[in-house]
Amino acid sequence: MDATHPPPLKEEKELVKRAQKEPEAFSELYNSNYSKIFGYVLKRVANLEIAQDITSETFLKSLKNIKKFKWKNIHFSSWLYKIASNEIANYFRKKEYKAVSLEKITEPIDFSVPLTEIIEAEEKLKRQKDFLELHQKITKLPLLYQEVIVLRFFEKKKIQEIAEILGKREGTIKSLIHRGLEKLRGLMD
């Protein structure tokens, strides 16, 4: 399955239904959504270690709650974005992050990632000077504005999608973006 383009809603609905019974179907959902979620979290926190932890927590929480998931005719990824956004909010509020679900796993986990991969990713991130400069300003905004700006401009989400992710009206999202940009402009000057 192409990771960048979600399957049509009808197909996805079936896949989610299967994921509530079969691990293979859940893996399919994971494969098609991992990069989106990791990318979104990284754009919000600009920290590779935290991004890995929040992504892990997001998927572990989605697994824990997949059985209760009710299809509302919106993409499964919107639900994952919502979980990730909540985790990011926790991180910003506490200025630290604890991957609770991950810590609860009693079996020994080998989460060691090849160092070369980390170094390579860090190098890539460091080179995004414009992004990092903007990110620094964005993180000074209240969380609500941070969310909408990252989703709209970095994740290239439509207003309707952002409204689905955040569970708000499209009009509210538009005014949040407008006010967020105004505040960001103030920080840029």
């Binding site: 691990p23 859940f26 893996s27 994971y30 494969n31 991992y34 990069s35 990791f38 990318g39 990284l42 754009k43 590779l48 890995q52 992504t55 892990s56 998927f59 572990l60 697994l63 824990k64 997949i66 059985k67 991950l102 796993i105 079996e107 986990i109 080998d110 989460f111 060691s112 990632v113 090849p114 991969e117 980390i118 990713a121 890539k124 991130l125 995004q128 414009d130 992004f131 903007l134 700006i149 401009f153 970095f154 940009l181 105004e182 960001l184 402009r185 840029m188 000057d189």
Partner: protein, 236 residues
């Protein structure tokens, strides 16, 4: 900076895909093993859900039903009925005169109390009246008091035979007379959701044993001789 310029700046930023393939793989394997663990919980939970949820629902329904039934038909006790009856001045007076409570019945929100004279078969001065009290239990109020007097219930041949059998237990008496005597009702019965006073059948029997004559009082409901009275020696 103008808003348009800021939007352009934001839109221009194209972040290259930054990924850590090792993390993706490790997380995938963790999720796979955790899926199986979670699935076990999902499989166990529905069993409990099937048992506990209906049980919980039934419990809630029973509690609600009890609460409602208690509001519509509160659980009255015989003691409550007795207490209300005894507070009535007329009944109080009867009790002071030597009456006692014979029986109490409850039908829905009404209580019935039968008050009658204490048993004393051969007392010369015996109270000769009693009462049937009807009480509204919701209002805790006496609705009506009907006077009850001892009644004579005619004896059938069968009754007479029963009297003879009861007396013959004493030995070989010679029965000279059997007659019905006035008796005060001792019981209340419920018939078609109405209360009725159950008449008590009693008989007086004159019998002789040797040269002595006796009078016995037989309770035909209980088939026992309740009391005896020596009448005297038989004159030749």
């Amino acid at each position: 900076m103008e808003e348009e310029d800021l939007i352009k700046k934001l839109e221009k930023i194209e972040l290259p895909e930054i990924e850590i393939p090792g993390h993706k793989e490790k997380l995938k394997s963790i999720l796979e093993s955790q899926y199986l663990k979670e699935k076990k919980g999902w499989e166990i939970f529905p069993i409990w859900k099937r048992v506990l949820i209906p049980a919980g629902t039934v419990a809630v329904i029973i509690i609600i039903a009890l609460l409602i039934s208690n509001l519509i038909f509160p659980q009255y006790t015989l003691a409550q009925v007795e207490e209300i009856a005894l507070k009535n001045p007329q009944i109080k007076e009867l009790i002071e005169k030597g009456a006692e409570i014979k029986d109490i019945k409850i039908i829905k929100d009404k209580g019935y109390v039968l008050v009658g004279p204490k048993e004393a078969a051969f007392q010369t001065k015996q109270l000769e009246e009693g009462a049937l009290v009807e009480i509204n239990l919701r209002a805790k109020k006496v609705l009506r008091i009907d006077k009850i007097t001892p009644q004579v219930s005619p004896l059938t041949e069968e009754d007479k035979e029963n009297v003879k059998k009861t007396i013959e237990k004493l030995g070989e008496p010679e029965i000279t007379e059997i007659k019905a005597v006035p008796s005060f009702p001792q019981k209340l019965i419920e018939k078609d959701k109405k209360i009725e006073v159950l008449p008590e059948k009693r008989a007086s029997v004159i019998y002789e044993v040797g040269e002595k004559q006796w009078e016995g009082r037989v309770n035909l409901q209980k088939e026992i001789m309740e009391s005896t009275k020596f009448l005297g020696k038989i004159k030749e």
